[in-house]
Amino acid sequence: MKLIKNILHSVRPWFDDTGRLRHLRPVYLAADNFFFSHVEETTCAPFGRDPVDVKRYMTLVIVALMPAFLASLYFFGPRVLLLMFVSYAAGGVVEVLFAMVRREEINEGFLVTGFIFPLILPPGTPLWMVAAGSIFGVLVGKEVFGGTGRNLFNAALVGRCFLAFAYPGRMTGAWLTPGPEKWLQLPGSLLAAAPDAITTATPLGLAKSGVMTAPIDLFLGNIGGCVGETSALAILIGAVALLLTGIANWRTIVGGLASLTLFAWVLNALFPGQVAPPGFQLLAGGWLFGIVFMATDPVTGPATLPAKWAYGILIGALTVLIRSYSGFVEGTMFAILFGNICAPLMDETVIRLRIRRCAAERACS
């Protein structure tokens, strides 16, 4: 700890206004504030503050993602680490470039985006595609709108969407069979994306051709799918962590789960051939991961609490409809992106209702 402090202290002059690396100052600040908490005096009331800060907030999201991450390491081997590294590196370059040009600090939101992005990709995705998707996601999904806090769309989903449309063939062929034996195949399994890797189909893909995967496999995760979304158990542990700490808003999750269950149940009763039953819909595909970790992203969802219900309900309904009535196998990604578009409208509705209530309250204050 003292060593790090000394290093940071000694390199500080390079990043000052006249130092030779002054343009890289955001990187220095990010490292400095990562290792040692930032201290600043309050200048206006309230002079004491709550200790919650954005770093802690994002850290807890990553802690909640840990079970899913560890499950993915178990099922898909050390390649996941490589995907994670490439995602952080590529997205990080964009993030740093924008921070340098804008002369702002690097925001913590990227740590979560970079972590989530590989978890929503098929494990066999070629590394150059991971880099391309990460760059696109951070650039078009976030930085173009103004950076963290101002983006309209979930940056990781924008990257995923880009890859799905730009390289559809390669994405569908990148599903790998799960199994811990990949750790024994080091280092070969690291770069496995070659045609001789064992590929498999996902439960949703199988369902389209009428083959239903066993629920226990769906729950534990011994199935094909995106890196982080296969194990419902791991995601649920993370969900409980997020809900207990209050980091994720329960309204989005409950609204989404309820709406998906209701829609799937009703439509399955009416059209059993086209729509899978609610139990399957809940556990299969990226639904659970999406509703717990992506729909609850505070920046891209509605800002007002009542609107979060509508947001969750919309996403649940759309997921069922897209899965059942479109050419796509998985609907969660598009449902969430569509929800992102509608979120400001939902907020606006809540605001209109509040305006009326405020006028009534002024009359009798």
Binding site: P51, D53, K55, G246, I247, C358, S365
Partner: protein, 479 residues
């Protein structure tokens, strides 16, 4: 009584219940402009005054309010300087408290006489009216339909009603007997407290038992339940028989005690019970001090040292003051001491946090229930853009949308911000307190409210001028 939002963090430095008397110092300092009232001296520089004599009067719409001498002595008047307000210094010759006004039988006084007595005793400014937003009008044109006495003072660490009640029970009871005479005939006196079964409240319950004009309300112990606007709002929401133009007065227990002392014993307002607390103090406690006592007399010497921030008020609404330049005034009931020092922790964001308390249960103290030992006058984080986490909305006691008001103000859309309730903000500071992005919401809203008032005043003035010009032209046309 229901409160929406609100939050009370576990903060160390709670003052002990016993009230210590502070000896009356040699010099008392009394500012002449405070809390919106401007006092003009009623005596000359160098005059000797005895206890209770009005030092100055403030002219208001309905009458005048006195500033009584808190002790006998010789007065020196310092006129307004470049950076300072006018104030009086009293060189104390005799600190004894003697009944100055005639003792009244409050039960026989009519409301007008009661109001005059309270105004002469300097107590009238302690009452807050929902109609004016400050002191009620003195001429009796506003008679309240309800009076609320708040025994709660949730903000860390204001003097709460039970402490005052324990110290001056008879005066509080006398004050409570008088209040119904100031209301309308169908008026109701509401006593707001967190625990009506508390033993300290026994005497009040005994006196008011069976009185149909007195109601006891239970309020949750969450800041800012004691704020007058929050209390009025909770009362209106809970009682739909209240009409929009009914007036509600709010007082705290110190004001009631002062009323009792004034009317039953003939004593003007001369002292305050103040809670001096906070993590920066080794021995936080309550003190009783004469109005005008310099702040330095209340604080232990090490507290006034450079590394401490001393707030006049509580944790949330307190403003920093210099002990050397500050004296107790009639509205004080809390001083909060915070250390300025904060260390840079190694990997602070992953700490299990058994020494800090947050609104969200994200630290170890959520399991242990201990207090926030890490609280200092520090931002505790870095400034970031709004991430729409919604914590401010959860905590707002007026059920506003602070995140949306912030977004509007960020774009300078003052009218839109006003439409969703900027003017309803009471400035409690909870939104800024819980914000993870450390946005100065309270300051931003206060600045915007000031700009709105300025614009309104400007528009009103322009409108008046325009009307006068039109009338002048009309006159000219006629002649």
């Amino acid at each position: 009584m229901k409160l929406q939002g609100g939050y009370l963090p576990r903060v160390p430095g709670r003052p002990s219940a016993a009230v210590r008397d502070i000896a009356v110092p040699e010099r008392l300092v009394i500012p002449l402009n405070r809390h919106g009232l401007q006092y003009t001296p009623a005596i000359n520089d160098g005059d000797a005054v005895s206890f209770g004599v009005p030092l100055a009067w403030a002219e208001t719409a309905g009458g005048r309010v006195a500033l009584p001498a808190p002790a006998s002595g010789v007065v020196a008047i310092t006129p307004a300087g470049k950076n300072s307000a006018p104030c009086m210094t009293l060189q104390v010759t005799d600190a004894q408290v003697k009944a100055s006004g005639s003792k009244h039988t409050p039960e026989r006084m009519d409301p007008q006489a009661l109001r005059q007595a309270l105004a002469a005793g300097g107590i009238w400014p302690l009452i807050r009216s929902s109609k004016t937003g400050g002191m009620p009008v003195l001429d009796g044109s506003e008679t309240p339909a309800r009076i609320m006495v708040s025994f709660v003072a949730a903000e860390p660490f204001r003097t709460c009603g039970n402490t005052v009640l324990a110290e001056a029970r008879e005066r509080v009871l006398a004050g409570l007997r008088v209040l119904p005479r100031l209301m309308t005939d169908s008026g109701i006196l509401h006593l707001v407290l967190t625990d009506p079964t508390d033993a300290a409240f026994q005497a009040v319950r005994a006196q008011t038992a069976g009185d149909a004009r007195v109601r006891i309300e239970q309020a949750p112990l969450r800041y800012p339940v004691e704020h007058p606007r929050v209390l009025c709002r909770a009362l209106r929401r809970g009682d739909r028989t209240l009409k929009p133009d009914d007036v509600i007065w709010v007082l705290d227990v110190q004001a009631v005690q002062a009323i009792g002392a004034c009317l039953a014993e003939g004593l003007p307002l001369h002292e305050r019970v103040i809670a001096v607390g906070g993590p920066g103090l080794a021995a936080p406690g309550h003190v009783r001090a004469r109005i005008g006592t310099p702040l330095a007399s209340l604080l232990p010497p090490e507290a006034a040292a450079g590394n401490n921030l001393i707030l006049r008020g509580g944790l949330f609404q307190g403003v920093p003051v210099e002990p050397a330049a500050t004296a107790i005034d009639a509205h004080d009931d809390a001083f909060f001491v915070l250390s300025r020092l904060a260390e840079r922790e190694f990997l602070g964001f992953v700490t299990p946090g058994f020494d800090r308390v947050s609104f969200l249960p994200i630290f170890g103290t959520a399991l242990t229930g201990s207090a926030d030992r890490h609280l200092t006058a520090s931002l505790r984080g870095e400034r970031r853009p709004c991430v729409a986490c919604g914590l401010c909305e959860q905590v707002c006691p007026m059920a506003l949308l602070p995140q949306m008001i912030h977004r509007y103000l960020y774009r300078d859309a003052l009218d839109e911000a006003q439409s969703i309730g900027l003017d309803l903000c009471i400035g409690c500071g909870l939104c800024a307190y819980v914000c993870p992005s450390k946005i100065e919401l309270r300051q931003q809203f206060a600045d915007a409210q000031a700009r709105l008032r300025e614009e309104r005043a400007h528009t009103a003035a322009a409108h008046r001028e325009h009307q006068e010009q039109l009338e002048k032209r009309e006159q000219q046309r006629k002649t």
